[in-house]
């Protein structure tokens, strides 16, 4: 089981119950659990949505869209049933924050799902976890069963006549692409998890053609806390236009990797050097991938930036899923770029050409380059390929592959050039295959 670490600078809202045994429903209730949903039933949809809007909560999956606004887009009247879909398909490399939510506080996700359902008028919610989290599904399944047993789920919940809500839980079976909301719906409908063309957006035409709210698990888990503490109080914890706190997973070359809840806008430098204990083994910082592997890299001199959506955008990168990956001086950016693109090539669903072909050509070129067979045109070619993927795919996977690639070349071009001249790091992380040899079994 993942170990929890904490730091005095943390502001615990969504992580308030972590490590306190809140997987047990009685303990969860003792810690103010299922109070917020009862308030939501009393106060009604308008109050819920206004509170969520006032909180300034923005989607924690990566896109950062205001949650209250998303919920308000769902048509009030619909011929087809409405649904809530919780996206727990957390597959962006560097990201493991939802993992700890499901592990320590599954009822918060359940309660949040109910709140979202009440806000939009849905009677059925889905909690969809990534396939690798099947051991967590057991925890969530038990929590759902316990909630049914208490009468918190099902017909006439909390004894309220006519208020019904059901939850179905399941996992995927290993596909990064399914984290994209329309691909998630396809997967849940029992199909290959490839994206849908938008518009129409899920808020209007979603699961089974009905209006659907899709939120990341952390976003949903925040909802009960927001209703309890009030939207304004939550908003004040963060910065302007970036309400509240968020879970940051700090991994890689730091002394104390972990998932920490910090206020929005918290200094990235402090997050790395103080919260996560600084660079491992006293080495020097080289670079930071700030919000999961799709976010453009920052150099060591660029980390004086606040961790919120707007400040990160201003710094030319993204807050993404909050997965901060720290690289020390020993890392070869060529290797790191290769490992990153290998992932996106492997996970491209293959539906649209710029992504399918682009990721493959970049991977092939970088593989040859990495093996010592590079030439001067390669760097420009990789850049050209990535630039031509940007904005040209049905879903954001193409961008997610292109953005880090462009970032590595922009920020570390000289390192690619030096690599061409034969300069190597002392301890390479990936085995180098001589040019012309077939790929190693296992290199995918």
């Amino acid at each position: 089981m993942p170990t929890l670490v904490s730091h005095p600078d943390e502001v615990k809202v969504v992580s308030r119950r972590f490590g306190m045994g809140a997987t047990d429903i009685d303990k969860y209730v003792e810690l103010d659990g299922y109070k917020a949903v009862q308030m939501a039933i009393e106060q009604g949809p308008e109050w819920i949505i206004n509170t969520m809007k006032a909180s300034g909560l923005r989607g924690r999956g990566g896109a950062g869209f205001p949650t209250g606004m998303k919920w308000s887009f769902v048509p009030k009247v619909s011929e087809k049933p409405k649904y809530v879909l919780v996206n727990g398909d957390e597959s962006e490399p560097g990201t493991c924050k939802d993992h700890v939510i499901f592990l320590h506080d599954p009822h918060a996700v359940i309660e949040g799902t109910m709140i979202a359902g009440l806000a939009i008028g849905a009677k059925l919610g889905f909690i969809y976890l990534r396939g690798e989290y099947r051991y967590l599904l057991k925890i969530v399944e038990k929590a759902v069963a316990d909630a049914y047993a208490k009468g918190y789920l099902g017909k006439n919940i909390f004894g309220k006549e006519g208020v019904d809500f059901d939850i179905i839980t399941q996992t995927g079976a290993g596909a990064y692409e399914v984290g994209e909301e329309s691909a998630l719906m396809e997967s849940l409908e029992g199909k290959r998890g490839v994206p849908r063309i938008k518009p129409p957006f899920p808020a209007v035409v979603g699961l089974y053609g009905g209006p659907t709210v899709i939120n990341n698990a952390e976003t949903i888990a925040n909802a009960p806390h927001i209703l309890l503490m009030g939207g304004e109080s939550y908003a004040k914890l963060g910065t302007e236009r970036n309400g509240g706190t968020r879970l940051f997973g700090i991994s890689g070359h730091v002394e104390r990797p972990g998932v920490y809840e910090l206020p929005m806008g918290y200094s990235m430098r402090k997050a790395i050097y103080e919260v996560a204990g600084g660079i491992k083994d006293g080495k020097k910082l080289k670079a930071v991938v700030p919000g999961g592997s799709s976010c453009p890299v920052l150099r060591a001199d660029e980390i004086d930036v606040g961790l919120d959506f707007d400040q990160m955008a201003k710094a030319g990168t993204m807050l993404g899923s909050g997965g901060i990956v720290v690289l020390d001086e020993s890392v070869s950016i060529v290797e790191f770029a290769l490992r990153t693109i290998r992932f996106y090539q492997h996970e491209s669903c293959g539906w649209c050409i710029p992504c399918r072909e682009g990721t493959d050509w970049i991977k092939k070129t970088l593989t040859r380059f990495h093996a010592g067979g590079g030439n001067k045109k390669d760097i420009d070619n990789i850049q050209y390929l990535a630039e031509n993927m940007m904005g040209r795919t049905f879903c954001p996977l193409g961008d997610a592959a292109a953005m880090p690639t462009l970032g590595f070349i922009k920020k570390f071009r000289s390192e690619f050039e030096e690599y061409l001249e034969g300069k190597r790091v002392e301890h390479p992380l990936i085995q180098i295959q001589p040019v012309g040899e077939p790929e190693l079994a296992g290199a995918h």
């Binding site: 089981m1 993942p2 170990t3 049933p81 957390e90 962006e92 490399p93 560097g94 990201t95 493991c96 939802d98 993992h99 059925l124 990534r130 396939g131 690798e132 989290y133 099947r134 051991y135 179905i168 996992t171 995927g172 079976a173 290993g174 596909a175 990064y176 997967s187 849940l188 409908e189 029992g190 199909k191 290959r192 699961l207 089974y208 997973g249 700090i250 991994s251 890689g252 070359h253 990797p257 972990g258 998932v259 592997s293 997965g323 990956v325 720290v326 490992r339 990153t340 992932f343 492997h346 996970e347 669903c349 992380l429 990936i430 085995q431 190693l440 079994a441 296992g442 290199a443 995918h444």
Partner: protein
Amino acid sequence: MSSIANSIFTPETAARFDKLASIYPVKRSALVPMLLYAQDEIGYVSNAAVAEIAERLDLLELDVRNVLSYYSMLRTAPVGKYNVQVCTNISCMLRGGFELLDHCKKTLHIGHKETTADGLFSLEEVECIGACCWAPAVQVNYDFHEDLTPAKMDAVLEDYRAGRGKDVK
């Protein structure tokens, strides 16, 4: 009592499938979960499993195979009793994921997607498994093992070899 006569699955799994087919607004939604449970029981998704699942969900076998081929955790051939899945994605790579993979290859004498002669272990290099802050991490079947070193990995493998390992399904 299963809705299917002569189910190839155990009564428990058959009952679970009956339930799965009934809870979703559209039956087909049960497909991915069913494939996973079928794999849990048989060790892989066999032709017979494809046929029965197709029948249960009123789908063509082709529909089932289409979905089956898409997801990386689903397989159409058996693996070892314990499938050792080593993550080498970025966070794990930075903290020794590749070293761990090489170590497993050497100690188990097998490569990616191969199985030991005694059928006990299979090895697989996998993409991010969502344990980045506890890297390097390995999943054995569905169990996570974190913050590993080659020595700790040996202990993990020894536990499974001796029948002491966790094996959650």
